[in-house]
Symmetry: D2
Subunit: 330 residues, 4 copies
């Protein structure tokens, strides 16, 4: 299902080269000030332009097509969409018989019987994350006392991200990276032991962002190599603050009032300039494949703002479920 959330609920739609991409939001409280200008900053963060990312430039201007009246949300569904304008379709001639390694060409073809829109990845395109970022902007406005801060902390195995990207660019290759997200201002008590732990919900939405292959909370995989006496976070204040934060702000699936911290693994962009080997499904023989078009060298560069949006969407839903956000904002 292309929907996510229980009371703050998002429904995503669109294709990379179709008429539009966007998101439908349900459950937004009434009375929230909202303006198309609110989206500019995070859209810009997600956009292409930085070295190593695709030079495709979209206006990416979000339009609010329902749910707004006199500059405030009404409590009814909010349709956020952008038109796709700058699409160079000729770059994306469908190569249906030759699935690109690392892409969803083959899996989507099996699933949809070949009817899916393969132009630029269609509904599987990273462009769909534009809708997630737009929803995240609204979520962050609702969670006005939270602070979201995601950053790329490593690319191609080094913290010198810029040089890793430049090197890959020169080699006609791509690199993956690791994004860390920290969220402060989160009250204790959000989440459930079964099955909607905070980790469950965040990982659920995070793994729908294209190219994500791993997630860890707090000490994460390092915890597997620790002793209990090292890993346990000692509680050092009556408010529940802990001396260390190996738990990443979550115990038993529930926030403990410390910062939520998680890291995600972003794989290297699948489309690379170098020649690759793959199967021609028509001739059933191995063949060389050269992928044309514009591509990000390091898709991880764009991921931080998407990750913030994903986390904000989850936490808005949880805050509403705990009655910590009113249905009407005054």
């Amino acid at each position: 299902m292309n929907s996510f959330g229980r009371v703050f609920r998002i429904s995503i739609f669109g294709e990379s080269h179709g008429p539009s991409v966007g998101i439908l939001l349900d459950g937004v409280p009434a009375g929230l000030l909202l303006d198309e200008g609110d989206f500019t900053n995070d859209m810009e963060r997600r956009r292409s332009g930085a070295k190593g990312t695709t030079p495709r430039k979209e206006a990416d201007r979000i339009k609010i097509l329902s749910g707004l009246f006199n500059g405030k949300t009404t409590g009814s569904p909010i349709l956020l969409a952008t038109e796709n304008t700058n699409t160079r379709s000729s770059d994306y001639i469908r190569i249906s018989d030759i699935p690109r390694p690392g892409h969803a060409d083959l899996t989507s073809s099996v699933k949809y019987g070949g009817y899916n829109d393969l132009r630029g990845g269609g509904h599987f395109s990273g462009r769909l994350t534009l809708g997630m970022v737009a929803a995240g902007v609204v979520a962050k406005k609702i969670l006005s006392t939270f602070m979201f801060n995601a950053a790329l902390i490593e690319a191609g195995g080094t913290q010198d991200v810029e040089s890793a990207v430049n090197k890959a660019l020169r080699e006609g290759d791509s690199v993956g990276g690791i994004v860390e997200c920290r969220i402060s201002g989160v009250p204790a008590g959000l989440g459930e032991p079964f099955f909607d732990s905070v980790e469950s919900l965040i990982s659920h939405i995070i793994f729908s962002i294209p190219a994500i292959k791993g997630i860890e909370f707090g000490a994460g995989f390092s915890a597997a190599r620790m002793k209990g006496s090292e890993h346990n976070d000692s509680i050092v204040s009556p408010g529940g603050k802990t001396g260390t934060n190996n738990a990443g702000g979550i115990n038993g699936g529930i926030t403990n009032g410390n910062d939520i911290v998680f890291r995600i693994a972003v794989k290297p962009t699948s489309s690379i300039a170098r020649t690759q080997r793959t199967m021609n499904m028509e001739t059933k023989e191995m063949t060389d494949l050269n992928i044309e078009g514009r591509h990000d060298t390091c898709i991880a560069l764009r991921v931080p703002v998407i990750v913030e949006a994903a986390a904000a969407i989850v936490l808005t839903d949880l805050m509403m479920l705990e009655n910590k956000i009113p249905g009407i904002i005054k």
Copy 2:
């Protein structure tokens, strides 16, 4: 919510020291042969007994309390439960003012206002996974052509699991570990790009298993350090088989017909024999804490069968959503 799944749906209930623990299954096809003996093997795998796990011995005999007629499922909900018998309650006198580091004592107290059952962890207990394992047994029977194989591949930072556990036991400490799960026989085409990718659904349920702090699919976090030319799996057969399996059997959120492979990080057991420091919430002063009772030295030892169950639950749901499992099994 204590439920999970869209058409094959589980609802968990129970407390460690309450009358019973179990699970309610909805959406099970009619006509499936099912017997209380079917549960014995996986219950035994989950049970205590191995070195380093708690000596608490429960019969853990699953009773089928609805949805069965003439030895076959009826298509109606199946209630699976076990009675809690061997509970030494005196071990678990509630220490409500002194939250144990690493446990959900504080978060559950905040969330439920102190009304939650803290005896042995209550609803947060690892004992609840018994219901998940029971549901997994049914799911595996439905997915009769799949092979599930999870194993502890590392504990305390070493592959010599036994010595790591023994060492921690001697030291009155605990150790974490890494569990790897491989699933073969999975057809291509399961899962969705948004928001129900296979990774999304598996991670959602996996993170509701107590003590899990990370998950990675295929190359996972290693992918973040690879180049695209290294990471991309070359397709080498017309059926979609790939030479490597860095994708872990999933592209664009959808199974590609190769083995699904994922690893999870299990933190060290929070309850340890050594003295710990924590806050006394009544006096608001730091205090020593000694935890009595029986505890697993390495909870990760019990996790593999739970992970298999979790994956089987997800895949049964996805197979049903793709019409690949009939509503009536003959």
Copy 3:
């Protein structure tokens, strides 16, 4: 799906002649006093015994099997069940080849491939409503300021219910009836225009009660014969009280603060003592059918308490969605 509700959520299970029937409740606030004695009164109202109802007498004692600690709810799922003890199975030898008119014999057989438990109706039995009544008891406790009042206002086309039932009993026949439910103390603002109007949700659960074939709110079908000038309820107080209540307390799908009023049509019991004609599915010839066993002459007599429960379940969910019930009751 055998579940209903968004945050106050019920999951029903059991068969008429299986080991147990009951319901699993999720989303019950923590801290609510609850005792097995709380169920006695409504269970008694639902029970057999009155003239025209089946003489089958069950203890119908509800056991609380999870989610309770020190006499109060914990916030975790509450399993409510009763064991089936007084089942005279010999009355219910399965007549699989000869579907009984008015019953679900044929439809359930098609749906479940003949694997469903037909003893006494199995999962389709009116006995399942016992779980709904139990959930309703909890819901009514949560909605402590609401008043629920359902009554049978007509049977066999007359308000002299007793004589209608006696007449049908003498004739070896059965009669239907109309149940009216009034609920007072409901605040304005519950429900949604799309798709969860109060009428939508109440009718959804009501039509899962066996034997219900119609529902109308306020003036209902009479409204279809009225002019707007007659039907519109004039608002006569600043609090929103209306002079008439043709709307049944609901405008635009949302409660208006006046009493919710609805009526439901209950069909006559399908099992009757008189000989009926039906098809023998084996021989494919018409045949006489005589139904043995104990049956209600007027099932509508038992319906009021079930209807109250159904409405209470819906309204608890809506009150929670509007943040009007705290997650912790003190």
Copy 4:
């Protein structure tokens, strides 16, 4: 929630005088031929124009904004929307202090704190049903072997609908009506005993259509006045055909293969030309109210095509849940 359905899922949005109204469809099989011309006929049926309906004329041209490729559905979400063009806003100056009898003015104001768009009813407008009709067009295409036939069978208490409407028009009043819907070609076995009976699902969506106050299936309220020997439908063919159809094609919540038949009560249009009395919420005194603008004299005239759409939406979902519709249409 503004969504409905389990696997064929609709999400509605828009306001009467906002930028657009429409619907987002999820779960549509891939490969279905779809064209904007497909919507013309049912849009026309829903449109204004007939005597007694509002003279407001909208192009009501549905645009397909996602999920289509090469003239066929792709399996991804389909966004269907129309722009609102012909809105005479001056007619609808908000009379926030004087709630109109029969309308949702007061209830929506309470629910949304006065932030909802009241222009022309905003999100509560009958105009929103345009999205339902659009979804119904897609559903009917999927259910190509079903026949849907809804008609207004009574208005103002008479079968001479035209004269009833003319009379009300002359009197500056409005009239209600009764719509009957018959659906043939439905296979046996759709629906569930709990809680998703066919009656439950149809009534759920039907009651979100503005102005509906009652629904009955088969004999409906007449059943409450019948004896079992009269009401029971005798099965007369091995295929399950019944001699009578008092059950309306549904037994135990499940279709029996006979026609589904139901009737709904539509209240008279709330907006009437005649002066009405209501409360001025500012002055807290009773006042006269005259409603200007264009209004349907008999909103029931427009309801049949909406009812067909609603039923088609439900049945598509149920057909998919029973694996009777493939995920890929060839």
